[in-house]
Amino acid sequence: MQVCDLLSWWSEVQMGPPDPILGVSEAYKRDTNSKKINLGVGAYRDDQGKPYVLSCVRKAEAQIAAKKLDKEYLAIGGLGDFTKACAKLALGDDNEVIKSGRNITVQTISGTGSLRIGANFLSRFHTEARDVYLPKPSWGNHTPIFKDAGMQLKAYTYYDPKTCGFDFQGALNDISKIPEKSVIMLHACAHNPTGVDPRPEQWKEIADLKRNLLVFFDMAYQGFASGDIDRDAWAVRYFIEQGHNIVLSQSFAKNMGLYGERVGGFTVVCKDAEEANRVESQLKILIRPIYSNPPMNGARIAATILNTPDLYKEWLGEVHGMANRIITMRELLVANLKKEGSTRNWKHVIDQIGMFCFTGLKPEQVERLTKEFSVYMTKDGRISMAGVTSGNVGYLAQGIHAVTK
């Protein structure tokens, strides 16, 4: 073999910084303590700590297998049966937007892919404003996605570390100052990473506050937050009713447990059907040079569930079950902390909603919790409630109490 050049093309390529969350899982794997708990995981676990494949998913898969479908390319915008059902799920069956055809919904590579397409679309066509306002804090991947698409990131007050709750006044103050036409990112429900959601009356005030912002909803947990899909979509639907023509990202990773199948949707609510047509044509132009057309398997499963009445009913029950288990764990954790003798206020653990909980633990306390108790979580004090089980909640309470008393 000849070596055509001693130097590599890649000599100057730096080692990328390690992913903070991945690092948590890696460290967890190496730990030999039998009592170790992984609370970094952003995927649902059952009460045995195992991944959960929904029964309605298995049934849908069996139905699909029996149909002997071909594997021809999907349209660029994805599977029609899926995108229609996806929009209906978010906006409600009878929504005027869907009836008038003024939404365009495309299938995307789960939530990330949806956000990226959205970011690319805004970057190319929303030229009056380059700024995207994220809640402080937000999902870690929001920033690099929008940055890579060429947008600028700013923040609005959201989380109040003093109460471990929603800083409503702070949010209103900041939002009222956001320049017109800027993009504002709102988590539809089950805010990631804090678990702190505005109450309906607070959402109402936010919706009324600034009429001329481009609202970008990220809904990754519909059904997973309260257990009720309509309740979790309330904010999205309210904003639309109030006249905001929003853009929306949806993920089916968590609520259908289809993580690795990459099922998501991106919706633009337009002025009318004609505009939706034009927007659709441009979304296709954006998608084609990234991956041509989306993967079938997960979308087919989701469409089957959404469009088959008994599977849909079963799904609603299973989502409710998952959300309930999380809520139960929250209650158990607080009860156990009280039992341990903790006098701190842990009300936020129950008030927060969804997969994640911002405990309020400081980095030093987190470090102790990991070192002394083999409880793995991110430094910001966030825990994934999905990693809590009836089997480990007692031990977890012990550890948290020990580092906070």
């Binding site: 055509c4 050049d5 069996a62 071909d70 594997k71 690099p144 034009r278 927007v279 044509s281």
Partner: protein, 410 residues
């Protein structure tokens, strides 16, 4: 006033519009020679028998779930896919200097490679590095690289319309005059859309210039196995370049050779100087993956990995691939023979000399329009036909139509 009031209607992607028009055509004799997907002799899509088998295995396996794959994809898919391209006994693999990223089809692999190169090749974020794509090429090549930020995507001479073959002198000439470090997108086999591949000797000449002038090798391998029916034969060029010591990318698609079009199964194989370079490159690839799709879809990759890593299934797959390739070869031979019998003006040897799914017929845009409008035979404006659209039942009609078109339309 809408925020999107000024969004213009985009022109539809040509190949999909063609399929649409075909669908709406009421003519019972219509033939679709557009989209690049395999069809059986009944004109039907073909789910490979081995794929059906493996799907059953997956459905029956209750230990499998739908958890996230790692960012770079399913490990056993990545390594076995790279082996397919480079060969099991590839020195690069043995020397531990091969890495891979599972991607969303061949398009996704090209995209990841392009994004990486823009960020890290020939300086940092250098959008001015010229990217050369063949003239003609798969039309999405231009968009992939342009959208990754490259400002200078140019054609290199490739197809000689007059002699209906490779313009080797033009190709080598462009390699000689390209700015140093330019990126060249090479079709590993079964060139799309011309079906014209360089011979081994011609590839060696290309490699010599690229090495001397320090040009970057980016292979697009969408038809391995599909071209000649033999995986190793179709990978000759890729493997030759490896033996020549190049650091390179190879975007692989399993859409056609596994018939897994809609599962989006692709792999970006990376050959570097050594393991340390591979490691750093992959760490940066992760960052790019994360802001585009976080992690790739599992179904298709699982399917391919199980097949490639199980001896009997692997053998069955190679057989399925050969079935497809053989049918294409048969259609080529039949079409050429029929045109000869009809005495159609011009030479038609290129139909059997070309390889893979596509043939550049040499029909001009007016003739193409005639074929579509008068004969309901749908093909690309470039004159490209998909051989898979031909069947024993429609080949006479197609041959006669070509004959009539060539005779009546200039």
């Amino acid at each position: 006033m809408s925020l999107f009031g000024e969004v213009p209607q985009a022109t539809p992607v040509a190949v999909f519009k063609l399929s649409n028009d075909f669908k709406e055509d009421p003519n019972p004799m219509k033939v679709n020679l557009g989209v690049g997907a395999y069809r059986t002799d009944e004109g039907q899509p073909w789910v490979l028998p081995v794929v059906k088998k493996v799907e059953k295995i997956i459905v029956a396996d209750n230990s499998l779930n739908h958890e996230y794959l790692p960012i770079l994809g399913l490990p056993e898919f990545r390594s076995s896919a790279s082996k397919i391209a480079l060969g099991e006994d590839s020195p690069a693999i043995q020397e531990n200097r091969v890495g891979a990223v599972q991607c969303l089809g061949g398009t996704g692999a090209l995209k990841m490679g392009a994004e990486f190169l823009r960020r890290w090749y020939n300086g940092n974020d250098n959008m001015k590095t010229p990217v050369y794509v063949s003239a003609p090429t798969w039309e999405n090549h231009n968009s992939v690289f342009a959208n990754a930020g490259f400002e200078d995507v140019r054609p290199y001479k490739y197809w000689d319309a007059e002699k209906r073959g490779l313009d080797l002198a033009g190709f080598l000439g462009d390699l000689e005059t390209a700015p140093k470090h330019s990126i060249f997108v090479l079709h590993a086999c079964a060139h799309n859309p011309t079906g014209t591949d360089p011979t081994h000797v011609e590839w060696m000449q290309v490699a010599e210039v690229m090495k001397r002038r320090k040009l970057f090798v980016f292979f697009d391998s969408a038809y391995q196995g599909f071209a000649s029916g033999c995986l190793d034969k179709d990978a000759w060029a890729v493997r030759y370049f490896v033996t020549q010591g190049f650091e390179m990318f190879c975007a692989q698609s399993f859409s056609k050779n596994f018939g897994l079009y809609n599962e989006r199964v692709g792999n970006l194989t990376i050959v570097a100087r050594d393991a340390d370079n591979v490691r750093r490159v992959l760490s940066q690839m992760e960052k790019i993956v994360r802001v585009n799709w976080s992690n790739p879809p599992s179904q298709g990759a699982r399917l391919v990995a199980i097949t490639l890593n199980t001896a009997e299934l692997f053998a069955e797959w190679k057989d399925n691939v050969k079935t497809m390739a053989d049918r294409v070869l048969l259609m080529r031979a039949s079409l050429q023979a029929k045109l000869q019998v009809l005495g159609t003006p011009g030479t038609w040897d290129h139909i059997t000399q070309q390889i893979g799914m596509f043939s550049f017929t040499g029909l001009n845009p007016k003739q193409v329009e005639y074929m579509i409008k008068e004969r309901s035979i749908y093909l690309m404006a470039s004159g490209r036909i998909n051989m898979c659209g031909l069947t024993t039942k429609n080949i006479d009609y197609v041959a006669e139509s070509i004959h009539e078109t060539v005779v009546n339309v200039q």
